[in-house]
Assembly symmetry: C2
């Protein structure tokens, strides 16, 4: 923990915020402002724009199967470029700044290349730079193993770097700057009257992020919850206040549905006429898991004369691979056939207030029914209800649910017109 | 020193040899061949094509004065990209390869960013990779300070990395692969009958490199001489045998002029009417040195009545800056005026055999005179004579000297047609 008198903040800027020299200079001015306000500042950056995709493309020009260890060292260069440029831009404004690789910043990980987990942060170097009054600019998304090999953290990597540093440095807040203005009650592109939330709990944000909100990866949110790091999500292109993700949302009475999210990357497979005996699910799902296909919602119909139907969803781009595996399996288990629907979507309502209050599910189902929207599958957690519906009805569903749960005024801050 | 039974070779590939995915795969096949021949192989690579220039351009888009520490970390990414891609290409061919940053490879330097000097190589990691039967691919041009900051080695950096590794690993040879086929008796573009040398001594190569041969930077050659590492210079685009730089050239009688080099990046400044008293040279040259302008040849005419003329050469792109400094200085020392000539060139003959044999200088001057070429300045070392002449006569001078010193047959290997 940092024992300095100054308060310490960690800021993270995503790839679109540092996509070119002009945007990097813009970010430098924002960082400088945080420093001027008397904070010690640590900044985590992603790679510029689509640098990471370009590096991956380059690797695939050389080989069809890049080795993960080599790919990690290759990809780690993207964040080194952006962090050195941001340090230069800050020096140009007259601020002392020093860029640090993940290794230099003490981000120590296991050796699972391409999806490494942070097991320890040794913030010694950062602390010594802060004590020299430097702004520390850290390359996100990367770490180093005990053997000094470079790793990358996989999806949501830079957010995770930022929250891990905030936790180990005892930062007062971890600010995630991105190209959205915060967390909304629904996607403003579908629901123009959607409002931005001032605060949201870790739990609620985790559900929103897992069920379609693109604003932040669940991994960083989990880490924030674990170490109780307040996380601000805001835009790097405006001065709008953003949304705080923290332990407890408002104590006061408020709308118990906090937000609606949707995800159109959903395909469904139904295996028809499955003999219903123990072990049959494993026979179907094990080969999918071995093929690295993530199965989401699973629903088994009530069995009639020991014959049942089994439905489950997968990501759309996994559908073809999943179908070819399932088609092989059904022969061995004596199922009748399998059918698929590639054009589905999830619509989800989230809110901690739901857990002790009945009637939310009923209201959701009734609302969709009134719109003539057919619900294909349903899954729930204590603070979430998800319905799987046809993709072409998503907009109608989200708009109707937004009205039904009176979310127009929920965020208390009206959304500003987006540029 | 490596104590293994296998012989160890270090190969270095320049930026043009790894400029794109196709060329990287080509280099991988060459590395694989060296491995197949039973060697332990360490490969040093430069950044792809003009990556380094692009990164510098990016830095200057952000700031007019990039900080050297940040610029070093930025530029070091260029070699990380090429070394990871080469490792992937080798894996793709079925060879075990591992890419290493300069830091991982144990290249320890001082903290003079942008022009760091290697003070130690700790080859532990490379040796352990070689013992695991891996090919080690090392990012050239970079190192790490004791504080774990990344440095770059400046001009000739990757060659220096390669020779330093070869020295510390006790390699039997350091092979520098580039876009030329070796060292020629003269530039084949000027002298079609120029022949490639089979061997050349460190001393001779140092003079050739310092006076215009672009094939290898003097720094790597010096290091090779110091640790007695044989250096092969050859093309990565052909299987032509190249030139070996080593301790002793042929013992047998041979042509005592080994090669002719030229350099057209020469401008001359003459300060006219300088009062000739002690300290006057320092008064002129100190401010130039402070402005980081490298002064080459200096000639002072015999003094008449304590008034003399002083001529010296600088690189052409330093001329304007140098003139403005000298114009200020001449006022303070009471010199008459200064004049400049931007379009000069150096023509140099080199050969260890010259040192105990008279008549080489005379033959050079006579040859140039016969061509009607005016010699403006002359400088010599024990194994070198350099004349400064007008740029537009360079081709005539080099061709005439090549004939006069009978170099057509010197290399014993006729140059193959260049593509």
């Amino acid at each position: 923990m940092n024992k300095g008198e100054k308060s310490l903040i960690v800021q993270k800027y995503g790839g679109s915020s540092v996509a070119d020299a002009k945007r990097i200079r813009n970010v430098a001015r924002r960082v400088a402002k945080a420093k001027d306000e008397g904070n010690q500042v640590v900044v985590v950056v992603s790679a510029m724009g689509d640098t990471t995709d370009e590096l991956i493309r380059l690797a695939y020009q050389v080989t069809e199967q890049p080795k993960e260890r080599e790919l990690d060292l290759l990809l780690s260069t993207g964040e080194l470029v952006s962090c050195t440029l941001l340090a230069m831009a800050l020096e140009d404004l007259g601020y002392k700044a020093v860029s640090l690789s993940g290794a230099q910043a003490g981000i120590q990980t296991d050796a699972s290349h391409s999806r490494a987990r942070i097991f320890r942060v040794d913030p010694g170097r950062i602390i010594s730079e802060l004590e020299k009054d430097n702004i520390a600019i850290v390359a996100g998304f990367q770490g180093v193993t005990q053997d000094m090999d470079i790793t990358t953290l996989g999806r949501g990597g830079s957010d995770t770097t930022a929250v891990a540093l905030a936790a180990s440095l005892g930062a007062k807040v971890c600010q995630i700057y991105t190209d959205v203005e915060g967390v909304y009650t629904a996607d403003p592109r579908l629901v123009p009257e959607a409002s931005k939330l001032k605060e949201i709990s870790y739990e609620e944000m985790l559900e929103l992020a897992s069920y379609g909100a693109r604003v932040m990866h669940p991994r960083g949110i989990e880490l924030g919850e674990l170490y109780n790091v307040p996380i601000l999500v805001a835009s790097s292109f405006s001065n709008s206040p953003g949304t705080i993700i923290c332990k407890e949302a408002f104590m006061e009475v408020r709308n118990k549905v906090r937000g609606i999210v949707h995800d159109i990357n959903v395909a469904k497979i139904t295996v028809v006429g499955v003999p219903d005996h123990p072990g049959i699910a494993a026979t179907i799902f094990e080969p999918l898991s071995e093929a690295n296909i993530s199965v989401d919602t699973i629903v088994q119909n009530a069995s009639i004369e020991n014959i049942t139907d089994l439905s489950f969803t997968v990501a759309r781009n996994d559908l073809a691979k999943a179908m070819s595996i399932v088609e092989t399996v059904i022969k061995s288990i004596g199922a009748k056939q399998c059918v698929s629907d590639p054009k589905l979507a999830k619509v989800t309502i989230v809110g901690t207030g739901m857990q002790n209050t009945p009637g939310y599910a009923a209201r959701m189902f009734r609302t969709l029914h009134e719109q003539g929207i057919n619900i294909q599958l349903i899954t729930t957690s204590e603070i979430r209800i998800t319905c799987i519906i046809s993709e072409d009805r998503v907009k109608d569903a989200v708009q109707a649910l937004h009205r039904a749960f009176e979310l127009e005024s929920a965020g208390r801050m009206k959304r500003k017109k987006q540029k």
